[in-house]
Symmetry: C2
Subunit: 363 residues, 2 copies
């Protein structure tokens, strides 16, 4: 059990991007102040009561920051575990360092999920070209080679179709420790946005289907229209993982929906110990968004509802797609979100739009 | 016609209270930065990219502030007109100084509305006890004596029931220039939250009924359930006033609904050239809130929809009512807003709660 932080308390956020910005907007609704710690100034700084620039591995600076806040959270999973542990000796860090440790290394994550008896694509550890050869012997082709650490938005991964690509594939990811993943035939990708309180209560938002292009999320749609039993299983998987981590806050789990399989309709792809792009629709379609529920959980407040009041379709604005902001704003009823980043570089998430409509009876 | 400010531009806000805070949260969704100018640090400062402390009549300081922003707006109507005019020589001030000038003096406001042919309670200017005596001769009793300037939340006004209260009533409001208002029999109070663009387009949110206690708003409810023709008339009145002011941004008009009158079902009580407490429900029940539409208007963006997706009941949290924040947060589906003010003094607006439900067909 966690003591609830009263309004007026200060929430410390490691990371200065758009997820931090949206966390701050949600925290501010509840009367909290926010202090951001980031290695480079980012869009979260514009709405923070205070911000500190420092390296994430500068433990003395992180400790100094931690003394000015009442709880520490993070908006990305690549915070060094040692940093989180140092902070936790001073103030609560939520989600705890274990959530970071498991999710920032693909191999550790896959082993963790697998050991919970949750279906996951076949995988093998790869440290060398030789490892990769034998991994392919076991898993087959096509397969996907991913770096163990620091991958996001399709970065740090390469698909292997033929044996003769092995050496160049390992080269292309920088010859770093990696994981080979077997190819899964799926009909759609879904994600569960779960929030778990310090008291161990878990709530899940309705499960969206997600579309990606070039490894970057394009669209999330709720309701998914998937069978109720499959959705229940998806939520159960996320709850199991959150419980096993002792997670406090939002946990996001991406899964593949496998056609014609009733015994195990879902295979876990990856997870993130934080609010997630596939949950941005909750800002406009739910009384309590994923961002507010994350803040409620880490502040020891009662969780808010995870129900939606509207159906929703969220589309990312990537790179130059943000440029017609005026035309987007003119679209009747569209909810426009722009992150206030500077340059609209290709592949950069600049904002998102959500179209909501009357709630259907589907989940 | 106004040129649209691109995301990344800076909005200057005169005033540092909860309305400023909620304006900033809305502006941040659209990618704007905000700079607050306030005489005392307030809840808006915690979410502003920058803030300046200065007196509202310190023109040099306001001018310096204005040079750092792209447009100036305000969250309260008692900004000195001279200050707004000084700022306007440097950057656009929206709504314009005329909206301030008319609405910060009750007598000017009543004359303005009256000259537009809009129904308003009988009124008379009062500068002395003698004026008050003759005003009562014309208007009758009971009546309400209100200071011309600086009244809000029931402050600066007194009800007069009998002739023998005349001298003490004028004393109690500090013997300042005042207006005597005739007493209006009404069955409910309503308000129109209108937003007008620089191009002259006006949109109105659905009209709530409002309940007050001790002169302070307690509750706003949408839909009102009033006849469609009366609601259309209410919107028409607000649009007429907004047009006559050349207003850009949100304009709020409070009205009395008069029973059994189809010819003139509404009588204007007062107006404010800004976002309004009776529009707070729009945050949770509309795709585009009053705050976002105010920002859109002053930034030259297309107006957003003023439609609601849900029915709503908003209750203010006044003084100690904010203290059971934990129990409020535990109420399933309740939207909780806390302003992050320090001390919960009696009569101080500390937050609000909104309960939303499926949209009915009523307006």
């Amino acid at each position: 059990m966690i003591e609830a932080l009263p309004p007026g308390s200060t929430i410390g956020i490691l990371g200065g991007g758009q997820l931090g910005r949206m966390l701050i907007l949600a925290a501010s609704r509840l009367g909290f102040k926010c202090h951001v710690y980031t290695d480079v100034p980012g869009p979260a700084c514009d709405v923070a009561a205070a911000w500190t620039i420092g390296a994430y591995d500068d433990q003395a600076k992180v400790e100094e920051f931690t003394r000015t806040v009442d709880v520490v959270t993070y908006e990305f999973e690549n915070v060094p575990v040692a940093t989180a542990e140092a902070a936790q000796r001073i103030k609560p860090v939520r989600p705890g360092p274990k959530s970071l440790e498991v999710s920032q290394d693909r191999l550790t994550e896959k082993r963790f999920v697998s050991e919970l008896g949750i279906p996951i694509a076949p995988f093998a550890s790869v440290q060398s070209v030789g490892d990769l050869e034998s991994a392919i012997d076991n898993i087959g082709l096509p397969a996907i080679l991913k770096t163990r650490r620091l991958g996001y938005d399709g970065k740090g991964q390469v698909r292997i179709e033929n044996r003769d690509e092995v050496a160049s594939a390992f080269e292309s990811i920088g010859r770093t420790p990696a994981v080979l993943e077997g190819f899964v035939r799926f009909d759609c990708e879904v994600s569960v946005i779960a929030v778990r309180s310090g008291a161990g209560e878990t709530r899940c938002y309705d499960v969206p289907t997600n579309g990606h292009k070039d490894g970057i999320l394009r669209r999330s749609t709720v309701p998914s229209g998937l069978p109720a039993a499959h959705l229940a299983r998806a939520r159960q998987i996320a709850e199991t993982i959150a419980g096993a981590l002792g997670h406090v806050g939002v946990l996001s789990v991406e899964m593949f929906h496998v056609p014609d399989s009733d015994s195990e309709p879902l295979i876990v792809n990856e997870m993130a110990p934080r609010v997630h792009n596939t949950g941005h629709w909750t800002i406009d379609a739910c009384p309590v968004s994923q961002f507010e529920n994350h803040i409620r959980a880490i502040a020891g407040w009662p969780l808010g509802t995870s129900e939606r009041h509207s159906d929703a379709q969220m589309d990312n604005l990537i790179g130059a797609e943000v440029e017609p902001w005026r035309e987007l704003a003119a679209q009747e009823g569209l909810c426009v979100h722009i992150y206030g980043k500077g340059e609209a570089r290709p592949g950069r998430k600049m904002g998102h739009i959500t179209r909501i409509g009357p709630k259907s009876n589907l989940r």
